[in-house]
Symmetry: C2
Subunit: 198 residues, 2 copies
DNA sequence: ACCGAAGTGGGACAGTTGTCCCAGTCGGTT
DNA sequence: AACCGACTGGGACAACTGTCCCACTTCGGT
């Protein structure tokens, strides 16, 4: 096996772990399964990480960062706010459809974090980032559409995140594309009503 | 130990299992943990159930039935449809607040079911029941308010379920009551717009 | 060329898990 | 009272898990 510095090995193991979790779930993501996916020996695992928990914690915190651009709206001038918001939601939906297992993995990681008091902050931080990202998108969208939010953007953003989560969960269960699009439309509707569209 | 027929033992074990899952998560719900919670010996478990999987499957299918009445709206005549729907959502939210671990357990069971192809139908059936229940409530609500849905009720119901899920997930993470109420209000808004309020 | 540190491999360990077995005991029917 | 099948308890097993250890190899700086 070629020699790899510990830092790179950590990254490689986290990538492998995410793949395993996506494919088979967190419960199946044993040290051996992760190491096999990464093509390493078992000892390398505990050379790079003190424990499996340490890897999972880092998996949770790092993976959120990559989610970033998915929800960012197309900023096409001339569109109404409603169109922009709905397009953003539909874009997220396409992202979900293209890699359902990934979103399922994220959900699973969140739920895992919720289980222990010391990990709960990880989930909270994850969501704080989502909300911040959503808030930025919403502000941008309003600007383009020449509208302004009549409710604090953070509040609108939180509602958007909630709607997105609901969309994700229900679609993962019934895989009903039309229904999901209806959810997106309804969500866009509700959100737009929190703005003053001059 | 007093003698208990197998059928009762199955019920007792399922109750115990739900308690364990609520408290510590599905991963911690080992045969031994469940049996300890139920105050039985380990052998009784495999006398009542062929395997742990069999118990979990039955846990998923039976537990949904008890959820039923939580979302049913107060049917106070004279209220607008918007008020009725929002009240229903807030009632669900109070239910969630009063026993968060239970909803967390339901979420976990759903995700578990999503993981294997042969269990996926269990999750789908679970959601079908949710949607049916929601549809009945929505129909009743519209009747009371003297309104009518302009979109098929099942479609409205699916959106309601999605919104409810989103509300649940986000509140479980950040425990922000005000934000959750804002989600409920926005959801009621979106849903009401799918009706013709004469 | 050499040497300490960084990285590697294989094997081992103890703890936990699902499942099973078997000898026993109870309760109701005959 | 006898008996048969339903139920019980304890212990065992093999598989799997996270973690550790130790001998070994390779690399970068001297």
């Amino acid at each position: 096996m070629t020699r790899i510095p510990a830092a790179e090995r950590r990254a490689a193991l986290i990538d492998a772990a995410l793949r395993v979790v996506s494919r088979h779930g967190l419960a199946q993501a044993t040290t051996r399964a992760i190491v096999a996916e990464a093509g390493m020996s078992l000892a390398s695992f505990h050379y790079a990480f003190a424990s499996r928990d340490e890897l999972v914690d880092e998996l949770i915190t790092t993976v959120v960062g990559r989610e970033q651009q998915a929800v960012l709206p197309d900023l096409i001038p001339g569109q109404t706010l409603h169109e922009i918001v709905e397009a953003g939601l539909l874009r997220y939906f396409e992202h979900l459809r293209s890699d359902p297992e990934h979103e399922q993995a994220m959900l699973e990681l969140t739920q895992y974090a919720l289980r222990s008091p010391e990990r709960h902050p990880l989930a909270a931080a994850q969501y704080a980032k989502y909300i911040e990202l959503a808030a930025r998108s919403l502000e941008l969208g309003a600007e383009i559409a020449g509208a302004s939010w009549t409710v604090p953007v953070e509040r609108v953003a939180r509602v958007l995140v909630a709607f997105t989560d609901g969309l994700t969960l229900t679609w993962l269960v019934d895989r009903d594309d039309d229904a999901a699009r209806a959810v997106a439309a309804a969500a866009a509707d509700a959100l737009t009503r929190m703005a003053d569209t001059r």
